[in-house]
Amino acid sequence: MAWRRFFQRAQRDDDLAAEIDHYVAAETDDNIARGMSADAARTAAVRKFGNRAAVREVVYGMNTINWADVLTQDLKYGLRQLRLRPGFALAAILSLALGIGANTAIFTLVDQLLLRLFHRQSVGNGLLYPASQVVEIVSESRISAAPATSPWPGTR
C-alpha cells in the first residue's frame, strides 16, 4: 500500500499545494476576524505558514525513490549528450562494439585452440597432467610440429 506513493508523486504534490492554499486562506479569514485588513491578513498568513516550497520539497522527497530518480536523471542526461554530439557518439559506440567484438573473437580462438583441444587430447590419452606440465606439453607439441608422430598415440 505504501509503495503506491512513488507512482502518485505529481498528484500528491498537487494535493499538497491545494492543502497549503487552503491553510493560507483559512488563516487569512482568522486574521480578518481578528480585525486585520485583507492585505495584512493575507501577508501574515503567508508568513505564518513559512517556506511553502520547502514543505512541498520534503513531502516530494518522501514520495521519491532517490536512487531511481538519480539514475533516471543520469540516463536522460547521457542520452541528451550523445544526441548533441553524434560524431562523438558514433566513435564511442564503434570503439565499444569493436572492443567487445575483438575480445569475443580472440577468446573464442583461445578457448578452442588452447583449452578445448588440449582437453580432448589429454582425455583421449587417459592422462591427467598437473597445470604446470600442461604449458610444457603444449609448447612441446608445437615444437615437434609433426602430427604424424603425435606424442599421444591414438589421438588425432
Binding site: E19, H22, Y23, A25, K48
Partner: protein
Amino acid sequence: MARKSRTDARGDMLQGTLDMLILRTLIAGPAHGHTIAHVIEKGSDDVLQVEHGSLYPALHRLEDQGLIASFWGTSENNRRAKYYRIAPAGRRHLLAERNRWHQLVAAVTRLIEPATD
C-alpha cells in the same frame, strides 16, 4: 546529489510527540491541517508552536503508515479542504504512544525533582 532526508527535523518537539498530538486531535473528529495546527497551539496555550515544515510531512507520513486517512471535503467557509480522520490502527498507536509518553514524563520528573526527604 543525494538528497538529505529532512523528515526527522521536527523543530523543538520531542520526536514522535507531534504524531501523538495529531492523532489525539483527530480523536475528536475529522479535521484539516489548519484546524489541527490551531487546536494544538490553542490547546497548549500557545506553548507549542506547530511548524508547518513538520506538520504536513507528518500528516503525509501518518497517512502512508495507515494511521490516518484523508478525504477532500468542504470547509466551514465553502473551501475545498483536505480532511484527515483517524484510522483504527491510529487509535491503537495513540494508546501505545500515550503510555510511552507517561513513562517518559514520570522518568524525567523523577530525575529533575529534588529529593524531598
